[in-house]
Symmetry: C2
Subunit: 208 residues, 2 copies
């Protein structure tokens, strides 16, 4: 059985949704950032990076959302969440998810995780990073809106592992200072995602 | 035929090496950052993100190194650069490459690309980011050295698409202020990589 380590309001929601979508046999374990459980000796044995998510499998522990999403899809092929036998289609999915993790999520992280990149005591630089977030996150969403979200789902007619990931990061756009009116297709995607049973179940589990 | 848009001394080298390793039928096109060709109207038609690398295929254009590396491997299966039929082994590879793009490369980028995250005129914050790079990049390399690089290749006995990517980012560690003595296994990997024919050929092409 799979075991997901997650924290509410983080990117672990993407994998949580995917597990629900495929009907996986899994349990979930909450890591409380308020108690810095992600840095506890116990959790560092699970994930030496001290972050969520992490997925315990019968072969070992996986981290990094793009990898975990493909793993969930590939080990539950009946759900058809990833076109793994089509190298170009699969690469398009991977490119989308890679952009989310290395551009959109990173830009977002400069609002709350500034001390990763400047000294925590440097209030000027921390504030400077925060001020840039509406622009840098907004630019990512503009690109997704205009060039990347095919519709109705990210990759077109078929729902894939790109959809829970975009939905998860789109949770934060208002708090990041991005006007939802400028990205109506992203916001419509988010609304349709929020109506899916798997999404409701994953969120209910995280917020219970 | 594939066509790779690259710039010397950037992460496009990883895909360049992979193309050489599999013996791909490809051509390469240099994008000159000195002339900001990555922002030219012509190149923005290739990659609206205005970055390298980009890979033109007969089905469309791909971006994002982790996606391109898998594409090169999957479309040249004889070279066996990715264990795509083993969900866990494939996820481990993906997790490694995802860590490189979203943690190691991002931390490195704070030395040269600070204006992505603070205003370009904010000299204090730009300098503050640069000062943190030895620590933040060093922490990534420490984790790779200790927990992730199995040896002799990243994933163990078999050379995979993780190897050219690690090699590419390891080019920059001295300039990032990381003491190579603290990561002897990474440095040994880099040395062995530099002796491979495919690596020499890709570098020679980029620096010609």
């Amino acid at each position: 059985m799979l075991k997901l380590f997650y924290t509410a309001h983080t990117c672990s929601l993407a994998t949580h949704i995917a597990l629900e979508e495929v009907g996986a046999d899994y349990s979930s374990v909450r890591i409380d950032f308020g108690k810095t459980e992600q840095r506890s000796p116990e959790y560092l044995k699970v994930n030496p990076k001290g972050r969520v998510p992490a997925l315990v499998t019968d072969r070992g522990i996986l981290t990094e959302t793009p990898a975990m999403l493909v793993f969930v899809a590939q080990s539950h092929p009946a759900a058809q969440l990833a076109a793994m036998d089509d190298p170009f289609a699969f690469a398009e999915m991977q490119a989308f998810n890679s952009y989310l993790c290395s551009s959109l999520h990173i830009n977002h992280a400069h609002r709350m995780r500034g001390p990763r990149w400047v000294d925590a005591e440097d209030a000027h630089s921390i504030a400077a990073m925060q001020r840039k977030v509406p622009e840098s996150v907004g630019a990512c969403f503009d690109l997704i809106e205009r060039d990347m979200l095919k519709g109705p789902w990210v990759m077109g007619e078929r729902y894939t592992i790109c959809d829970p990931y975009l939905f998860t990061l789109a949770q934060w756009l208002e708090a990041d200072g991005v006007d939802p009116k400028r990205i109506p297709r992203v916001v419509d995607h988010r609304r349709r995602m929020s109506e899916r049973t798997a999404v409701r179940k994953a969120i209910a589990d995280e917020l219970a």
